[in-house]
Symmetry: C2
Subunit: 444 residues, 2 copies
């Protein structure tokens, strides 16, 4: 643009708004496309054209999905971050430490920031938001959680008057794709992972997805906003999907459950728990039918009750939609001269629940030497620690062994852990095959 706009009085003189783009990969290409293809809608809403002026890339020569004038490309961050004509930085390059420096530099230059970077926001969100407020800049990050689903806005504005008691999310498309295929086609984890990699739903190194870290980052961001409490990545208890077997899924089905990687965030009074765990969720729950690479976030508010937000959690254009919608937000604020005023500091001090405050149902599958009194011994351990059993299934295996599958009633994590420790010490118990959280359709 031809004029730096810092307050609304100047707006009538603005001829266009200029964007500096950091990164031109999958999401970056989508951002270029959405800005081009929906320019008329942007002009209608913002009042002037929106142009990408400079793009930071790693390799200028690389073939790309979108045509971008090569004079716009640069490998030098300063050419984007220090360009006085650029109003807003859109960060879709990924990475954490160096990217954070770029964004701080952008804010110091009084450039607003839109980012899709969940790694960065999960680790440094509060610090970056404080810097943005300090420089009276907007820092929006809707695209960092659940791609095309406007869930952050819905939590902060749509449910602004409610107190959120519980959020459960399928917030990682890769793992949901894998679990859906395993569940529907009876295939093994390794087999489906290979297909997912071939189709582009899983990366060559899938660790961050399949080990639950990606989902944990999103849950840290969601619970920080939803509970108005600074939840850090380390506060999120995480387990991935790599050990889930076809048997677990099949027995789950038999009991009326679907296996999902569920991000779970719950508040009792002012104490919260946040986790990402493979979970057997009741088929009656709306999350159970969220399949393939789709994401959904189920939100239970004290007043509103049950709501759910469903859509694509990743992908070039869906994520770009969230990025450009954030851009529209920044530009509307620029027109009104109210940037840097929309974020609200956390209302509460963080208080994490201890293990004796965390309640859940559990599914356990284990193998025993079948013999007189073994089942009595096993069930008595559960009874001793107040863990009552809701469902029991036993069937014989070869060599006088038997497999036992149990679903407990709600029990504290502390008691349940003690039960598992004692169970492992029973000589007749050969192996604990698997343990999962179980989630019913009940609301709180």
């Amino acid at each position: 643009m031809l004029l730096l706009v810092k307050n609304k009085e100047d707006w009538s003189k603005v001829h266009s708004l200029s964007i500096g783009l950091l990164g031109l990969g999958t999401v970056g290409s989508g951002v270029v496309k959405v800005i081009e293809n929906h320019q008329d809608k942007l002009i209608h809403q913002v009042g002037c054209p929106v142009k990408i002026k400079k793009v930071l890339v790693q390799d200028i020569e690389k073939e790309r999905e979108v045509q971008v004038d090569s004079t716009m490309l640069t490998v030098d961050p300063a050419e984007v971050l220090l360009d006085p004509e650029i109003d807003i930085i859109v960060e879709v390059m990924g990475g954490v430490e160096e990217t954070k420096k770029h964004l701080i530099q952008a804010l110091q230059q009084k450039k607003h920031v839109v980012t899709a970077n969940k790694d960065l926001m999960a680790l440094y969100g509060p610090e970056l938001l404080a810097a943005a407020a300090n420089y009276q800049c907007d820092l929006f990050y809707e695209a960092s959680v659940a791609g095309g689903i406007p869930i952050l806005r819905s939590l902060v504005e749509g449910l602004a008057s409610d107190r959120i008691a519980k959020m459960m999310g399928i917030v990682n498309g890769t793992t949901n794709f894998i679990l859906t295929k395993m569940s529907k086609e009876g295939r093994s984890y390794d087999d489906v992972l290979t297909e997912a990699q071939r189709l582009g739903f899983a990366e060559a190194n899938p660790a961050a997805d399949v080990e639950g870290l990606d989902a944990a980052r999103k849950m840290a961001i969601l619970s920080t906003l939803g509970f108005s409490m600074e939840i850090k990545l380390d506060d999120v208890k995480v387990k991935g999907i790599t050990e889930i077997t076809g048997e677990d899924i099949r027995y789950g089905k038999q009991f009326g459950y679907t296996m999902k990687l569920i991000g779970y965030a719950h508040r009792d009074q002012d104490a919260v728990e946040v986790s990402v765990l493979p979970t057997l969720i009741s088929n009656a729950h709306p999350l159970a039918s969220v399949n393939d690479e789709y994401n959904a976030i189920y939100v239970y508010g004290e007043a509103v009750g049950e709501t759910m937000f469903y859509g694509p959690g990743a992908g070039s254009l869906p994520t770009a939609t969230a990025v450009v919608s954030d851009l529209v937000g920044v530009m509307k604020n620029m027109r009104l001269g109210v940037n840097g005023k929309s974020s609200v500091n956390p209302q509460y001090q963080k208080h994490l629940k201890s293990d004796d405050e965390i309640y859940s149902k559990y599914f356990i599958r284990f193998c025993i030497h079948d013999g007189v009194g073994v089942m009595t011994k096993v069930t008595s351990i559960f009874a001793t620690y107040d863990v009552s059993l809701e469902k029991v299934l036993q069937h014989p295996l070869a060599e006088e062994k038997a497999e036992i599958i149990l679903v407990t009633h709600r029990a504290s994590r502390e008691n349940f852990r003690t039960v598992m420790t004692e169970l492992r010490e029973v000589p007749a118990v050969v192996k604990i095959e698997s343990v999962y959280r179980v989630e019913e359709g009940d609301t709180v």
Copy 2:
């Protein structure tokens, strides 16, 4: 409050914000409760206490769900609308013509307005929004569509950068409750309606719900926002659920469909269609599993793809949540001094599709005198007008009659109508029992 706030400079002097409430029925009581119970969250977000100062009611003596100091109640609208200390009017009294006058008067007094009134917004939305802009006031109406689901915000802000191609909504809880019961329990319309009335899910006079008018109002509001085009209530083609029979639901099931009252809004280029029709929707579609009194709006955006927003469509506290979240929006704008600037005029001139531009699949159930050549005659009529058949089921009835159930491929409404007219003239056709729209899981 002690001081009229019209710009941000005064904000530090504000001791509290005062609300005038029009109506103290189901939603009004919910608003009182949410403001009381979540006062700490409101203060945290808005920066000062939020108080209800005056409430317009019809009968001061009436027993109510909530305790409200009787000195706050009045039967005189002027006592609320003209009170200089009241900043924001919350309208939850219902009604159209007189209510509209109240809101215009409130805006003239420079009071912001939050309303839950879909009847009013469907009929006079553009006029009221223009008045609000004229007086630099906010007029928010999130609660008018789908109660607790923040769908209007999601359309306007969350999907601000996208072009919406299609919206389908289950936006009436009463009819969804009735159809769910009919479908799951095999009960008749009349039987379930009576139960719904007893449980409070249907009104004593259920006409506006069961005849589709309530849903049509919501679709007019949704499509006006989603397509950025002024869609009027009269533009919405409407049919209710009163003629749906158990047979229709059963045959639908047999073909893999669920019967729902679907609000349908579709855009091709710049031409749109909006309807509310009983629809057999594929079980694979996310809307098919939205049951009981729940609402959901499925939105297909060109870039974002498929999204869905699910939650309670009515009820005291859910609707109140939407109202009070709008209040928070108004109050944040007051603090920033930017009221009356968030609504955007429609971008497009309205252009409704003609019947030869509207395509759909259809389900038809009819009765014939069985005889040589009848089926050939029937199917040839469909073929003549390019309506091809996807599914055909014929079974014998008593007295040499037969029932035929057809599902067509996509056909223009014009051609389909001609087919139906000719079909009625075939002597062997005894009766057309039912005709429904059919919606597959395909995206556009």
